[in-house]
């Protein structure tokens, strides 16, 4: 079982496993992999605890059942799975500012924190606007041969590459 202790596997092996996992998920749960909806539900549940009426009257939240579901358990599972994998290989470490950002942008946690909040907001709005994320559109939707998912997936990378070049230069 030494391979479980390895820090990295070939991207092709990982890709094959994630592809098989998506098919397995469709067979067993009849659901494709996807993550962004769960953050929306978490947001709705948090918001509801402050202002119940506003959430109940919100048209977007009305379309979605705000309770613990398959997708939220999936996201929870991702946290656990990544933690177990990192612990097995000794690759787990508490990192406040990622190395690349620290060495080329700034070592300040506050700046990194602020960029993560702003980035997260764009990610959240964009994922809901587009109807999915790198998993839901990028892996699941594309392999369903959905034109919208291919367009969204390509747009994710165009936007991401543009911003990465703005931050880090050419």
């Amino acid at each position: 079982m030494d391979f479980l202790m390895l820090e990295r596997w070939s991207p092709y092996v990982v890709g094959i496993l994630i592809g098989l996992l998506n098919v397995g998920s469709l067979l067993v749960s009849k659901k494709p992999l996807g993550a962004s909806t769960s953050f929306m539900k978490l947001g709705g549940i948090i918001y509801r605890s402050f202002d119940k009426e506003k959430v109940q009257n919100n048209e977007y939240y009305q379309k979605n059942e705000l309770k613990l579901d398959w997708g939220m358990m999936l996201v929870l599972g991702i946290i656990i799975g990544a933690f177990v994998s990192a612990m097995l290989s000794g690759d787990f470490s508490l990192t406040a500012v990622p190395e690349m950002w620290a060495s080329e942008v700034s070592g300040s946690f506050m700046l990194r924190f602020a960029s993560a909040v702003v980035g997260g907001i764009f990610l959240g709005v964009g994922a809901r606007w587009a109807g999915g994320c790198t998993s839901g559109h990028g892996i699941s939707g594309t392999s369903f041969l959905s034109v919208i998912s291919w367009v969204a997936g390509i747009a994710f990378f165009i936007g991401g590459i543009a911003v990465a070049f703005l931050i880090y230069g050419m």
Partner: protein, 181 residues
């Protein structure tokens, strides 16, 4: 176990495997994801394209037997582009996406569990607040590609489309390897 609990348990187990694979692939790390966006590390695209080929072929096998659903999203090319580009801006700034941020949290990234998580959840709330207005102003249109999947339209075996398409994606990956990416 009730049906609901069984569903939750399935989600958890599939998620654990997903997170395990993502971490082994290195994509729970800011440096690897942003390395891809800077076009210096092609790990992310290799994983995604390989996953698409395998998944597409699996669906081609099981869909005609009615063993897997083909569920596609409603929307339009226009909104996939607008939303996709907004998402991309966030992807570049944050350096994680909704799935990999969960993995990054498991990997120990504090910027992910604090700022990133707060941001994504806030972003979805902002969208929920905007939704009524966007709909009222007629932004959220659906075009002919809404809920469209080629799988619904292929006569006969889907493999006749997905094998050539899969081969094309593999050729792209092969060229990337030959080119040293």
């Amino acid at each position: 176990m009730t049906k609901n609990n069984r569903t939750l348990m399935q989600g958890l187990i599939i998620g654990i495997l997903f997170g395990f694979f993502l971490q082994k692939g290195g994509v729970t790390k800011y440096d690897v994801i942003v390395g891809q966006l800077r076009l210096i590390d092609f790990t992310v695209i290799k994983i995604i394209l390989t996953a698409i080929v395998v998944s597409m072929l699996g669906i081609s096998y099981f869909y005609p037997k009615d063993m897997v659903p083909v569920k596609t999203k409603a929307g339009s090319i226009k909104n996939a582009t607008i939303g996709g580009l907004l998402f991309g801006v966030g992807f570049g700034l944050l350096g994680y996406c909704p799935g990999t941020i969960a993995g990054a949290i498991g990997n120990g990234y504090i910027d992910a569990v604090t700022g990133g998580l707060i941001g994504i959840v806030l972003g979805t709330m902002i969208y929920a607040m905007m939704y009524g207005k966007l709909k009222e102003k007629g932004v959220l249109t659906q075009d002919k590609y809404s809920e469209y999947s080629l799988f619904h339209h292929i006569k006969g075996s889907p493999f006749k489309v997905t094998i050539p398409f899969g081969a094309l994606i593999m050729a792209v990956l092969l060229f990337m390897e030959i080119g040293g990416l």
